[in-house]
Structure formats: structure tokens, C-alpha cells
Amino acid sequence: MHARVFVAGLTVAATACAPLANAATDSEIQQLRDELTALRSDYAARIGALETRLAAVQTTVEQSAPVEPAPFVQPPLATASSGSSGNEFNPAASLILTGTYGQQSEDPANYQIGGFIPTNGDVGPPGRSFQLGESELTLAANIDPYFSGYFVGAFEGDNGTSVEEAFVSHVGLVPGATIKFGRFLSDFGYLNEIHAHAWDFVDAPLALQAFFGGQLKQDGLQARWVAPTSLLIEVGVEFGLGDQFPGTDRDKNDFNSMMAFAHLGGDVGFSHSYLLGATLYRSKATDRTYQDLDQFGAPVTDAFTGDTDMWGLDFVWKWAPDGNSVERNFKLQAEYFHRNENGSLTFDQDGPGDATGNYNSDQSGWYAQAVYQFMPRWRFGARYDRLDSGSTDIGLVRSGLLPSTAFPILADHDPRRTTTMVDFSPSEFSRLRVQYAWDQARFTDTDDELSLQYIMSLGAHGAHKF
């Protein structure tokens, strides 16, 4: 009833006021129109005069131009092509070509991050000798006035293909909001969202490898909102299928992974900028299997079922004198990850020793890296990685049913790695890199890893985030 009265009142008010308002604006608009027309014809005259003078100047320039004049190519007039083939609307396309040459003192086949449940993902250095990296094909365009689309397909060196990203985005549903849906690199922390070709090192930080098996991708929805402030304050959420490590596909309605993040960023003058971030992430896993050895050294398949709760903090600070990063610039970046997994762990799933007990772990990891461009095109960088296998409570071991040696990969270990790199970028579109790392991710033995890498970008000029 109240609503009806309100609507009726509104209608009355609107009809009553509308003509008045229109009358007022009509005359104003007419006046404005007249002014603008006068302004326009005035400009047309002026520009006409300028153009005549321009032509005169041009002829004199042409006449007096001596040897080796820089050619002035006149712009073609706006071309209204009549026979359109439809290709004019093709998306902006770009292709990234990457590859490495590697030498490793340890066998890459037995690479593992000690103390952490294997992700079955992308871990370790890119193999020995020449390795073709991912060739990334990106297509992007506006779909219509409401949506734009973005696709990144990856052709792996071993001839596999994968959809890295394929999402649709919408800008400004409410002021400051951006919505993305499809498959996208999750906004967990700072580096996860950045494509590998834009990284400052050949490989991902150990923390990303241990906690996500490389990069966390979501099949789902992301909504983010930028506050109307002069400091950057941004908050966002993600909901997803959560089938990628640490989650698994659970064949359920609803969403299996949830994330919330916040960013705070700003400048100190033109020379310094910073960005701080915090992330919360939760997903569930059912029968997330991995390979290990039992207490007798025989291979077994173990499985985790339960909840994963993570949080992370990230920090980036960039410096460039007067903001001019072409000459020299410096970038400091650090991230911290914490993971709690709570549920059950099955030993020798579907095997003769099949047994299940509680599982609870608190693990963490961080990295810090600095990259300095000491002269145009040349950069030097160093990175330190550290993981802490933390406290792991395995019910089957606590109850005495199995010895702790039945879970060798979950033994206490603090993986560490130190990495240095130098890269040279002949242009904005090409980069050559040398990297050397002392990798102590395995329980024993330090892996000395040398990598030479090329990253080439063809086609549309990519725009990179901060």
C-alpha cells in the first residue's frame, strides 16, 4: 500500500514538474546550441586559414629542402571502406614465444618440494638442455558496448595445449566495479595474476609452486570494486569451481573455492609507488591424490580430503627517478603465504594397506625479490625463497598405526632457494635472460640450476599491470 502511494506520488510529482523543467532547459539548450554553432563556425574559419598557411609552409619547405630530408608522409584521409571483409573487427592478437636452455646438477625427474604434499602441478626448473616453453596466443576485443573478451591459449613445449585464461569482463556495473567470469588467473597475492612471460625470473617462487602447483586459476566469477578515493583502495571476491590444487572437483552444486582480497596503493611523488595486498582463500578437496613411497620404499597413492584455508600478504614497491623507468628503475616485491589444511589423509588408497586418519597441517612460505635496471635495457635481480613445512599432525602416525616414515614426503623440511638473474631487452618486445639458482627444495642435495631464456612478443602491444 505504502509503496503504491509512493509511486503514485512520484508520478504526480514527475508529471507536474516535467514541463517546467523542460521549458527551462529547452531555452537554455537553444542558447547553448547557438553559442556552440557560433564557436564552431569560428573555428572552422580559423582552421581553414591555418590549413592554407600550412600548405604554403609546406611548399616552401619542399622547395628549400636540401639533401636527405626526413620524409613527411601525409596521413591518408579517413578511409570509409565500402567492401568490408569483416576482418576489421578481428580481435587484437598477440603471440608470446618462450624457451630455455637449462643445466641442472640434480635429475629434474626427481624434483620435489620436501615437506609439502605434491601438487601434481608445474614445479621445478624447466628441464635440461633446450626446452620449448609455452607459446601463448592472446586474443582480446570488446564484444559489444557491455562486455569485452580475453583469451589466452597455451601451446606447451610437449605438444599439449591448455586454456590459460578465457574470460568475459564488464566494467562499471556500479561505479568502480569490474566483473570477470570464465577462467582467469586468480588475484591471490601479487604475482599469481601475472602471466609467466612478464615475470622477472624464469620460474615461479617456491611458495606458488608448493601451494598452487604454479599459478592458481579459477573457473568462476570475480567481482572487484575500486573506492572513489585518491589512494587506491580496492576490494574483491572470487567464487569458483575450485578444481585446481589445493581443491578438487567435488561434483557438487554451489562453489568450491572462495576468495576475498584487498589492495591499498599509492605514490610518494612521481618517483615512488607502492601496492599492498591481503588475500583470504578457502577451498575443499575430495580424494586429492598424490604419489609417495611407503616405509619400505614401495610406491603408494595417498589422498587428502578436507578443507584448505589460506591467507597471504603481498607488497610491491617501485622506484624510478622522476617516474622515468626507461633509464633506471628498481622494484622490490615480497609475498607471504600461510596454509592450513584440515581433514583426513588416506594411506595407500585402494591398496592393501588402505587406512584413513585425521590430518592437520599449518604451513607457510615467503619470497622476497629485488630487480634493478641499472642502465637502459639491462636488469639485474635476486630472489630468496623460503618455505616452512610447519606442524603436520597425521592421525595414522599419532595413533601408532603407521610409522612417520610411511609418509616420507611429509617429513619436516624448510625448502630454500636463492636465485640471481640478469636480463637484456633489446626492445620492448624481446628479452633474453640468464638465471642461476641454488635450489634446496629437495630433502637432500642442492640443485645448481642454470637457465638461459628468451621471451619474444609478436603482434599487439600488450599492456601490463603495475
Binding site: V171, P228, S427, E428
Partner: protein, 301 residues
């Protein structure tokens, strides 16, 4: 309760720190457009300048503060012609502001309104960092500024219609003063006609064109590709053979190559401000051209 109040207070404070409410908020990619917006909008606009005059306009980072200011902008003025292609699209995609997307009244790409020079006939990255739409450094011909000013004035009036008369008057006034200034500069720079320049980067093409000077060659072998030592040695010979009156460079470029070349060819080096704020003399758009002409005149004698 106290905590809640504190949080609420904080939020209010943060929102209050947003750019002034009453004024139309203008996001200018480059200092020249910030200066123009200020000339045309006066105290009815609050202008945010996204880059410093000493930044290479091709290579600006999508810094967090740029996202924040893009979020609240009513009008974005950039050069276009792919000059901002490495960073502007990121801002457009992340700031969540649909009123300033390309194609809306809230977005002006200045290069769309002028006749561009050096539109390449052959598009190939082997030619260096070339722009399919032509040379983007359009603001160094003041006649282009006049054309862009008309567009900006128009757009301000459209977006902030209650102050339309103000913008029109302001635009008229600027046009008169700018027209007079162009006449003065053209008269003053008559002796510069035919002056032979060797710029570092192809960023003074419009200036050279306007004043009837001659671009003998560039120090960069190809746009965006810095010269090697060997190439510089070749240039010494080339410059001596062809003759040049001045080697010029913009303040954002590396001075070393230009200085070395000047020493070895005895052709004077002129540092040009490139944009508003590039030198102390270039304190606004008028000062920019005053200073450029004064600096060139000094070596012309």
C-alpha cells in the same frame, strides 16, 4: 561499538580525501593535456596529471594512484595514436569507470582531431616502435593544440552543462590568446626556417614541420631503439657530410648519446623541454613554445 565508529570515521575520512566534489574531474595522461585542461576549465575543473614531464610518454606504468584517479574521472584526455597503449588499457579495464571508456564523451584521444604526420606505409616491428596511426607527438605544433582545445572546450561544456557558458567564454579567451601567440611565435621564429636538426627521437616532427625546419636524421637508428657505439661513430661522419645546425633531445631521453655526438661533431646540443614542466621556462603551454623557440634561437646565431 567504539571500533565500529572508528572504522566508520576512517571510511568517511578516506572518502573525503577523494578529489574535490564540485569540480569536473579531469584525468590527463600527459602534462600538455593537463595544462590545456586547466587553461580551459579554470576553477571549474580539478585536473590530475598522470605523468611527469620527465617521463618517457611511451613507457608509463599503470601505477595504483592512476587506477584510483581514473576511477573518479569525468573526462580523460590522452594523446591516442597508440602512445599510451602500454598502460592506458589496463587502467580502463581495472578502474571500473564506464564513463571514460574510448568512444564515450568522457574520453578524448587528441590525435583523432588533427592531421597526423608520418603515418607508416609499411607496418612492421622491424622498423622499431612505430605507430600505425602516425607520429603521436602532436602537441609540438601549436596549431594542433588549437584544434584539440576546441574539442576539449566543447566536451567540458557537454559534460558540465550548467557551466557551458563559462567554458565557452574561457575557450574563446584561450583561442584569442593562443592565436596571437602563434602569430608571435611564427614571426619570431622566421630565422629558424630551414634550420637543420638532428633530434634524438622522432618526437619533434610536428615542431619541425610547423617552423619549416629540416630533420636531417635522428640519433636513434629506428624509433625506440637506442644507438650503439658503432652507429654513433657512423653518425659523426654522416652529420659532418650533411651538415646540421643543432642536435636536439627531449628532457626525458638519455643525454649521453646526444652529448657524445655533439662533442664529436661540434654541432651544438639543445635540450628541449618536450612538454609543460620539462624546463623551468616551460611553465605552461605558452611558456613551452617560448622556451623551445628561445633555445633554438640561441644556437641559430
Amino acid at each position: 561499538m567504539v571500533r565500529f565508529r572508528c572504522l566508520a570515521g576512517l571510511l568517511v575520512a578516506l572518502f573525503a580525501s577523494a578529489p574535490a566534489q564540485a569540480a569536473l574531474s579531469v584525468f590527463a595522461c600527459l602534462p600538455e593535456w593537463a595544462s590545456l585542461a586547466q587553461e580551459l576549465g579554470g576553477d571549474k575543473v580539478s585536473v590530475y596529471q598522470a605523468s611527469s614531464p620527465l617521463q618517457d610518454p611511451h613507457r608509463i606504468e599503470a601505477r595504483p594512484s592512476l587506477v584510483a584517479h581514473m576511477r573518479s574521472a569525468d573526462l580523460v584526455i590522452c594523446t591516442g595514436a597508440e602512445l599510451e597503449t602500454g598502460w592506458l588499457p589496463v587502467l580502463m579495464q581495472t578502474a571500473g569507470n564506464r564513463n571514460v571508456q574510448p568512444g564515450t564523451p568522457g574520453y578524448i584521444a587528441a590525435a583523432d582531431y588533427i592531421e597526423r604526420l608520418e603515418v607508416p606505409t609499411r607496418l612492421d616491428r622491424a622498423e622499431g616502435d612505430i605507430h600505425p596511426s602516425g607520429n603521436p607527438h602532436i602537441h609540438l605544433d601549436p596549431r594542433n593544440i588549437a584544434k584539440v582545445a576546441a574539442v576539449v572546450s566543447d566536451r567540458l561544456a557537454k559534460l558540465d552543462s550548467k557551466n557551458a557558458a563559462f567554458y565557452a567564454a574561457r575557450g574563446d579567451d584561450f583561442e584569442t590568446r593562443w592565436g596571437a601567440a602563434i602569430a608571435k611565435w611564427e614571426q619570431q621564429s622566421a630565422p629558424l626556417k630551414g634550420m637543420r636538426l638532428v633530434p634524438y627521437h622522432k618526437d619533434s616532427v610536428y615542431l619541425i614541420h610547423w617552423l619549416g625546419m629540416v630533420e636531417v636524421m635522428d640519433i636513434e637508428p629506428k624509433p625506440g631503439i637506442p644507438p650503439s657505439a658503432g652507429y654513433l661513430a657512423e653518425l659523426v661522419d654522416k652529420i659532418q657530410r650533411n651538415g646540421a645546425d643543432a642536435i636536439t633531445r627531449s628532457m626525458y631521453t638519455d643525454p649521453k648519446a646526444a652529448q657524445w655526438l655533439s662533442e664529436h661533431t661540434h654541432v651544438p646540443l639543445v635540450d628541449l623541454p618536450y612538454t609543460v614542466g620539462g624546463t623551468p621556462g616551460a611553465n605552461d603551454l605558452f611558456g613551452l613554445f617560448d622556451d623551445i623557440i628561445a633555445r633554438l634561437e640561441k644556437v641559430r646565431k
